[in-house]
């Protein structure tokens, strides 16, 4: 069953290799640009909580920027970055060349066209409703769906060319996530069964699954490849990874309605969502302990490698953030935290703490292997620490502030009191957000170095994988 990815060395032609590296680099560069844009918008919005008149006018009004920020982060940055990593991981772990480099480029173009068209449409006030994470007009979402289908087809074709019988664990997650997301996108875009409360039910399903059945599986897939690769040892338990795969698949799609607790959605739908939110502890703890047990005894390697540090933070966020998600689903806690900024803190702990950190760990770990070019240790250090501290400040301030907000309401204070009480926490959110944004500038610089910088052979990290020049 087990396959040792670290030992795999493919015998691909120089040309195939080059094609894969170009695809991986291009996706990463594109993702970095979207990250800068999306979080630049995020910073602008954070300022608006303290200075509501800052950047006024239709094009910069908060309600238009909010979906631009979330969609560009999700479908610009995270999707493109994960698909780029996915291509590299799938091809390398299968010991095969890409099924079609041309399709990968077409996919990249489609992702970018969708993100760009979606952003422009939202800023002009054209949307398909304030339906979280599916605000883009339907035709833009069809372009995104086309990108997904192209990607799925290409990934399947690549795995079908594998040189061994087994399919490495990473590919399970990456293939699965891509295909499931095609279904999510179709479910979301068909309008003819979504009216009134029916649309609320679909919104609950969609907003949850678009995150947890797309970003999470791909990020986990990337970690299952990068972690053993960097540590030069196999994953702790292959079986545990498979177990987490199937339990995640069975439990996660059921819990979307916990976004609408106490709403007029049928009570049983909400209760089932809460029950399976608890069941989600199984794949979450299974998956994260698998990662942590793989790292056990290698603390020294860990603290000397920024790619591993990024992955470690990603794994810890997965453990903490997802467990927090389970707790939040309980009605007693939801009563305090629902509709407050606590939720915003949670979504950043998960999308940023888990997904973005896993992406960065994957890119810093794998891109230098592909291009033979390194980011400077200082650049990685600066990125890591500002992102980590920024995210910590961001999440902590909104978690405390959100709790106060919720308690204000429960104590029957005038609503405006909850606005006043949030002020200092909004300032801290801005501080955290600024650090995060700064780290993204450093990241962009690092990506540039890894793609177009000077060739470097010996860097501190190289000691971990000295035997590998290309793969």
């Amino acid at each position: 069953m087990r396959m040792d990815v670290t030992a795999r060395r493919s015998d691909l032609s120089e040309q195939d290799n080059h094609a894969l590296i170009s695809v991986f680099s291009a996706y990463t560069v594109s993702a970095a640009v979207w990250l800068l844009f999306a979080t630049g918008v995020g910073i602008l919005m954070a300022f608006k909580f303290g200075a509501p008149e800052f950047g006024s006018g239709a094009w910069l009004t908060f309600g238009r920027l909010r979906p631009i920020h979330t969609n560009a982060t999700f479908y610009g940055f995270a999707s493109i970055a994960l698909v780029g990593l996915g291509y590299y991981v799938v091809a390398r772990s299968s010991g095969a060349k890409l099924y079609s480099a041309g399709l990968a480029w077409i996919g990249l173009a489609l992702f970018n066209v969708a993100a760009l068209a979606g952003t422009i449409a939202l800023d002009l006030g054209y949307n398909d409703g304030d339906l979280e994470y599916r605000e883009w007009p339907w035709w833009v979402r069809l372009i995104f769906l086309a990108a997904l289908v192209v990607t799925g087809w290409n990934l399947i074709g690549t795995v079908a060319r594998r040189s061994s019988k087994d399919i490495y664990l990473s590919n399970w997650y990456i293939l699965g996530g891509t295909l499931w997301t095609c279904i999510i996108a179709i479910v979301a875009v068909i309008p003819w069964y979504q009216y009134g409360l029916g649309q609320v039910a679909v919104s609950g399903f969609y907003m949850h699954n678009a995150v947890g059945m797309w970003f999470t599986p791909l990020a986990i897939g990337v970690v299952y490849y990068t972690l053993p690769k960097l540590l030069n040892r196999p994953i702790y338990s292959y079986t545990l990874g498979i177990f987490a795969f199937w339990t995640n698949l069975l439990f996660y799609p059921i819990i979307g309605a916990h976004h609408f607790e106490f709403s007029p959605l049928p009570w049983w739908l909400q209760t089932i969502a809460i029950v399976f939110s608890v069941a989600m502890l199984v794949p979450v703890w299974g998956g994260s302990s698998n990662f942590l047990l793989t790292m056990r005894g290698h603390t020294r390697d860990l603290i000397h490698s920024y790619p591993l540090m990024f992955i470690f933070v990603g794994v810890m966020s997965y453990l903490i953030g997802s467990t927090q998600g389970t707790l939040e689903a309980f009605r007693s806690l939801q009563q305090v935290w629902h509709l407050t900024n606590f939720t915003v803190g949670h979504s950043h702990l998960t999308m940023y703490g888990i997904i973005a950190f896993a992406i960065w760990g994957g890119i810093y770990g794998l891109l230098p292997l592909a291009t033979g070019k390194q980011a400077s240790p200082l650049g990685m250090a600066l990125h890591f620490w500002t992102a980590l501290v920024g995210c910590f400040i961001y999440v902590t301030s909104l978690s405390i502030g959100g709790t106060i907000q919720g308690l204000d309401w429960m104590h029957g204070l005038p609503f405006i009191q909850s606005v006043i009480d949030m002020q200092s926490y909004y300032v801290w959110r801005g501080v955290g957000g600024s650090l995060m944004f700064f780290s993204h500038i450093v990241f962009a610089w690092n990506v540039w170095r890894m793609c177009y910088g000077p060739e470097t052979v010996a860097a501190p990290l190289q000691s971990l994988r000295a035997e590998e020049a290309v793969a």
């Binding site: 608006k48 909580f49 509501p52 008149e53 239709a58 009004t61 908060f62 309600g63 909010r66 006030g125 054209y126 398909d128 409703g129 304030d130 339906l131 979280e132 079908a160 019988k165 590919n171 399970w172 293939l175 699965g176 295909l179 499931w180 279904i183 069964y193 979504q194 009216y195 009134g196 409360l197 029916g198 649309q199 609320v200 039910a201 679909v202 919104s203 399903f205 699954n209 698949l249 799609p253 059921i254 309605a257 976004h259 106490f262 007029p264 959605l265 049928p266 739908l269 509709l339 407050t340 939720t343 309401w409 104590h411 029957g412 204070l413 005038p414 405006i416 909850s418 606005v419 006043i420």
Partner: protein, 326 residues
Amino acid sequence: MNKLALIVGGSTLVYAGLALMMGVLPGIELSKVPAGAGVEPLTALEAQGREVYVANGCSYCHTQQVRPLDEDKVFGRASAASDFKYQTPELLGSERTGPDLTNIGVRQPSSVWQYIHLYEPRAVVPESIMPSFAWLFEVVDQAPAGVSPVPLPRAYAPAHGVVVPTRDAQALIAYLAALKQPTWAGSEGAAAGTASAATGASSTAPVGAAAPAAGHDAAKGASLYTANCSACHQANGEGLPGAFPPLKGNDAVNDDDATTHIHVVLHGLQATQVGGVVYGGVMPPFAATLNDAEVADIIDYERSSWGNHGKPTVAAQVAAERAKVK
């Protein structure tokens, strides 16, 4: 190849099944929920206003769902499945940076207030962090026929000309005015209970006519005033010149007989004259949302603040006034 088929085909099939069960089927079923009594489709202008609301992402800060929780009673009765027949796209929202708007047409019926607030929220709520929507208005030399200029406080008014709402702003305000929860059979008894959410301590507050004459609670009065009155009459009791009348030095407030004062709070007011100035706006009635003790607390707060010297009232007198109309 078999293994690839298992992962690709098997897991996708399982997922498709779950998506059908948890997304599609509930969607189909719940789309059929019929409209409750009194739930009507919007007019053309209101529907246009809803589009403005959606296009500018109002629902990222304002929910339209009242939960069956005590803390939500300030926003209206709990939302019911039958309320949503005509609400596509749905606007339930996920965050309350600002208050819930499910029932805002009842809670703030004054379009004058809505226009001022939309143009510059801080003109009426100094602590507000809502963006200004001045770009939904125009500055003209003279208001065209049939359009009233927005009576802005001097600090926020343009140096020359008057501010008039564009068609989009008019539609948006028409939509907000239309956001009224139809009362339903189960909710009539809830009216008295609704008040309990306005103050945290009111689980002990007497409801109805049995209220003892135990003097007013100043802190509670101040808190209730902030929640219910200060958006128009302002924290300093001075109102807004030309838009909302002052309570400071107001004859009805300083009259030793509190009858008029109580009557206005309970039943609202439209087009009135205060201190020789005519106000065209609407004041909402509070009979359905505040109990007698709470009305008395507010009135006593108003009568003892900002240099006012009206004689205090008691819950029993409010109850008597309430009974007169029934």
